[in-house]
C-alpha cells in the first residue's frame, strides 16, 4: 500500500516539473529565470550526487545479517519492559485483571507494551525490512509471524537464538506435530504462539455439504459464490493436492500444473475473490456460500450462526502456526523468554485457547480446559486428535529464487 502511494504522487509532480522546464516564456524576465533554472538544475544535480553516495545507484547488498554479531546488550534485568507485536484479536482481553497478560505482569513485574500491528506477513516484512537488513533496531522484543515468514527471517539472520534453559516449558510441552519443522528443527529460534488448520467452511442453510476442495472449485451451483485465501501457501497447498502433488515436497513441474489449474478455475468465474480475514463477513452476509477458511474464525462464526460448518476436505488439512520470534537488537530478550515460557504453562495456554479458539500448541492444556470450559475440550479444532493431525500437511520451505518466482505466478493469477 505504501509503495503504491509513493508511485502516484511523483506522477503529479512529474507533470509539474516538465511544465516548468518547457513552459518558460522568453520575455523580459527570461534571462534571470533561465539562470534560476540552471541554478535549480545545479542544486538538483548536487542533490542527486549526494544521494548517489547513500542511495543504491550501483547495487544493493544482500539483506543477510549474522544474528550473533547484530545484537545488543540485554537490559532485561534493569528494565522490566517488553514490547510485543501480534495480530489483532489474538489474545484474551488484556485489560481484565485476570487476563493472561495481567497475570504475567503481576507475577514478573514486567510491564508489557502490547501492539496488535501485524495485519499481514508481507506488509510487516516491508515495514521492518530496511532496518533489519542494515542491522538497525526495530524497537520490538517479540513478534508473532507465520511459519514461512518466520522461516524467511531466520534464513536472513534477523532473528536471535533463544536460550533453551529459559524456555524449558516449550521444549517440554510443545505438541508433537509442531516439532521438527524443516526450517528450525530444534526450536532454536521460534516457539509457536497459536496454530490453526486451513480447510473449507460452508453455509449449510444455503448449500449442500461440500466434501472436497475439488468440489469447491468445480460445483456449478457455487459459481461466483466461493472465495479462496490470499495467503499463497494456504491456497497453493490445496491446489498442489488437487493435481496430485505433495505440498511438503513438490517439483517445478508440479507447481506449474497447480498454478495452471488455478488459472482455469479463476477464468471460469468460479472464484469471487481472494481474501484475508474478511471472508467471514461475506460468509455471514450470504454473499458467498462456501470458502477456504481458517479453523479459529469458523468457531467464532459458529457462535452467531450454527449453520456455518467447517470441513476437513478429502485432500487433507493444512496445518500452520504463528510463531514468537525475537528480532536482532531486541533490548529485552530475557523478558521475552520469560513471556514465552509463561505462555507454555498448560493452565495459561488453556485460558488463551478458550478465548482465541485456535489450536493450542501446548501439551496438557486440554486437561486444564476441563476446568475452564468443558464444552471446548472435545472440539477437534482446538485440541485435534491424532487421526485428524495425520491428515495435515505443511508447505515446503522455498528458497529466495522460488519465492520471487512463485509469488509472482501467484500474484498474476489472483490479482495480488
Amino acid at each position: 500500500m505504501a509503495a503504491m502511494r509513493g508511485t502516484i504522487h511523483p506522477s503529479r509532480w512529474g507533470a509539474k516539473g516538465v511544465r516548468m522546464v518547457q513552459g518558460q516564456p522568453g520575455g523580459r524576465g527570461g534571462l534571470s529565470r533561465r539562470g534560476l533554472l540552471k541554478a535549480g538544475g545545479g542544486v538538483a544535480f548536487a542533490g542527486v550526487s549526494i544521494a548517489a553516495l547513500k542511495l543504491p545507484f550501483f547495487s544493493t547488498d544482500g539483506a543477510q545479517q549474522d544474528p550473533l554479531e547484530c545484537r545488543t546488550a540485554d537490559l532485561s534485568a534493569e528494565q522490566r519492559e517488553l514490547i510485543v507485536s501480534n495480530w489483532p484479536q489474538y489474545i484474551d482481553p488484556r485489560k481484565k485483571a485476570t487476563s493472561t497478560l495481567s497475570v504475567f505482569q503481576d507475577r514478573t513485574g514486567i510491564s508489557v507494551d502490547y501492539h496488535d500491528d501485524v495485519n499481514d506477513n508481507a506488509e510487516f516484512y516491508a515495514k521492518v525490512r530496511n532496518q533489519l537488513a542494515s542491522c538497525e533496531p526495530i524497537d520490538r522484543d517479540l513478534m508473532m509471524l507465520t511459519d514461512w515468514m518466520a522461516a524467511r527471517m531466520i534464513g536472513l539472520g534477523w532473528i536471535q537464538p533463544l536460550d533453551p534453559k529459559k524456555i524449558s516449558n516449550v521444549h517440554d510441552n510443545l505438541i508433537e506435530p509442531l516439532r521438527n519443522r524443516q526450517w528450525d528443527t530444534d526450536l532454536t529460534y521460534h516457539a509457536p504462539w497459536q496454530s490453526g488448520l486451513t480447510g473449507i467452511a460452508y453455509n449449510a442453510a444455503k448449500t449442500s455439504e461440500i466434501r472436497s476442495f475439488e468440489e469447491l472449485l468445480t460445483r456449478p451451483d457455487l459459481k461466483g459464490r466461493v472465495t479462496l485465501l490470499s495467503e499463497m501457501r494456504d491456497t497453493m497447498a490445496f491446489m498442489l493436492r488437487v493435481v496430485g502433488a505433495d505440498p511438503d515436497e513438490f517439483s517445478e513441474a508440479e507447481w506449474g500444473k497447480a498454478i495452471d489449474r488455478l488459472q482455469e478455475v479463476v477464468d471460469s468465474g468460479q472464484i469471487r475473490a481472494f481474501t484475508g480475514n474478511d471472508y467471514t463477513q461475506d460468509l455471514a452476509a450470504g454473499n458467498i456460500l462456501a470458502c477456504e477458511a481458517w479453523s479459529g474464525d469458523v468457531i467464532q462464526l459458529q457462535f452467531d450462526n450454527p449453520d456455518i460448518k467447517f470441513v476437513a476436505p478429502e485432500e487433507g488439512l493444512s496445518l500452520w502456526s504463528d510463531n514468537m520470534i525475537v528480532p536482532n537488537l531486541a533490548q529485552h530478550q530475557a523478558n521475552a523468554e520469560e513471556w514465552i515460557n509463561y505462555y507454555y504453562e498448560p493452565e495459561v495456554a488453556a485460558k488463551l485457547a478458550a478465548w482465541v479458539n485456535y489450536i493450542c500448541p501446548v501439551e496438557g492444556a486440554r486437561e486444564e480446559m476441563e476446568k475452564i470450559d468443558p464444552s471446548l475440550v472435545d472440539n477437534q479444532l482446538i485440541f485435534p486428535d491424532d487421526d485428524l493431525l495425520k491428515t495435515t500437511f505443511d508447505f515446503m520451505p522455498l528458497d529466495d529464487r522460488q519465492t520471487t518466482e512463485y509469488e509472482g505466478d501467484w500474484a498474476n493469477v489472483t490479482g495480488g
Partner: protein, 300 residues
C-alpha cells in the same frame, strides 16, 4: 525599497551592482521550495529509476546488482499490459461518469441552490470526514447479493435471477466514480460559480436557445474547471487499487494492485519499479496531450 521581481531587468541595466543582489534574493527565496522538491521528489524518483534497472535475478538474500537491465521494462509491459489497459479504461469511464454527474451537481449548486449553496458544498465534502476504506467497504453492504439494490434490479429484470453486482466491473467503476466525485465537483464549481449570469441572459437576448446558450457560453467558460477536474479524477483513479480489490474479482484487477503485490508479496522490486515508471510516463504523456489540446496550459 519596493523591489519586486518584475522590475529586476530594468535595475540590471541601470546598476549591475543592485541587480546582482536582487537576483540573489530570488535564489534564496526559491531555496526552501527547491529543497523540498529535491528531498521529496528528486531523491525518491531517482531511487525508483535505479531500482527499475536492477538485475531481475536479485533478491533480499543476494542483494541487487545494478546491471542497467533495461529489459525490465519490456518484461513488465509484456506481462502486465492487460491490467495496465484495464486501469486506463476504468479510470477513463469513471472520469467521464464523474464529469457528467459532477457537472450537473456543480451547475445546480452554483446557479440553483440559492441559500442552500454552502450547505450543499459542505455535503459534497462531508464524505471526506470518514475514511476512504470505510466508505468503500460500505458499498459492499449496499451492493451485496442479498441487498436491496440487487433485489430491486432483479425485480425489474435488469439483472438475471443469479446476477450480481459485487465482483463485476460495474461495481469497480461505480466505486471509483463515487470515491473521486468530490475531486471533480469542487474545481467545476469553482469555475462555474465565477460565470457572470448576465452573459447567459445576454445569449438569450440574442435568441439563443437554452442549449445553445449553454454550449456557447457556459461550457467554454467552465473549461478550466473541466480540465482540472478531469485531471484530479483521472490520475488517482488509474492508480487506485482499493476499489478493484474490495469490489471486484480477480478478473478486474488494476495495475495498482499488481505493483503493490510485486513490491510486497513477490519482492520483485525491479519489475514493480519499472511498472511504476511506465504508469507514470503513460499518465504524464496523456495529461500533456490532453492539456495541449484543451488549450489550458496555464493550469499546470
Amino acid at each position: 525599497m519596493a523591489s519586486t521581481a518584475g522590475t529586476a531587468p530594468v535595475a540590471v541595466d541601470a546598476k549591475p551592482d543592485t541587480g546582482r543582489r536582487r537576483g540573489r534574493t530570488g535564489y534564496l527565496l526559491i531555496l526552501p521550495g527547491l529543497a523540498w522538491l529535491v528531498l521529496f521528489f528528486v531523491i525518491p524518483f531517482y531511487s525508483l529509476i535505479a531500482t527499475s534497472l536492477y538485475d531481475p535475478n536479485g533478491s533480499d538474500f543476494r542483494g541487487y546488482d545494478m546491471t542497467y537491465h533495461i529489459q525490465n521494462y519490456w518484461t513488465a509491459i509484456q506481462e502486465y499490459w492487460s491490467p495496465l489497459l484495464r486501469s486506463l479504461a476504468y479510470g477513463a469511464i469513471a472520469t467521464l461518469l464523474c464529469l457528467v454527474l459532477g457537472y450537473v451537481l456543480a451547475y445546480a449548486i452554483a446557479f440553483k441552490a440559492g441559500r442552500w449553496k454552502n450547505l450543499m458544498l459542505v455535503l459534497v465534502i462531508a464524505p471526506f470526514f470518514t475514511s476512504f476504506l470505510v466508505r468503500t467497504l460500505s458499498w459492499k453492504l449496499i451492493l451485496a447479493d442479498d441487498g436491496f439494490v440487487v433485489d430491486l434490479l432483479q425485480t425489474v429484470h435488469l439483472l438475471g435471477e443469479d446476477g450480481r453486482l459485487l465482483a463485476t466491473p460495474v461495481a469497480v467503476v461505480a466505486g471509483l466514480t463515487y470515491n473521486f466525485l468530490p475531486f471533480m465537483v469542487l474545481p467545476l464549481f469553482a469555475s462555474v460559480d465565477k460565470i457572470d449570469p448576465r452573459l447567459i441572459e445576454a445569449s438569450h437576448d440574442l435568441y439563443a436557445s437554452s442549449f445553445v446558450g449553454f454550449w456557447k457560453v457556459t461550457w467554454p467558460l467552465s473549461l478550466p474547471g473541466v480540465v482540472s477536474g478531469t485531471l484530479l479524477t483521472f490520475i488517482p483513479a488509474v492508480g487506485d487499487y482499493i476499489n478493484a480489490q474490495l469490489l471486484g474479482s480477480p478478473n478486474q484487477r488494476m495495475i495498482g494492485s499488481v505493483i503493490q503485490s510485486q513490491f510486497t508479496d513477490a519482492n520483485n522490486y525491479p519489475i514493480a519499479a519499472a511498472l511504476s515508471m511506465i504508469l507514470m510516463v503513460l499518465i504524464l504523456v496523456m495529461v500533456l496531450v490532453y492539456v495541449r489540446r484543451a488549450g489550458t496550459e496555464e493550469l499546470l
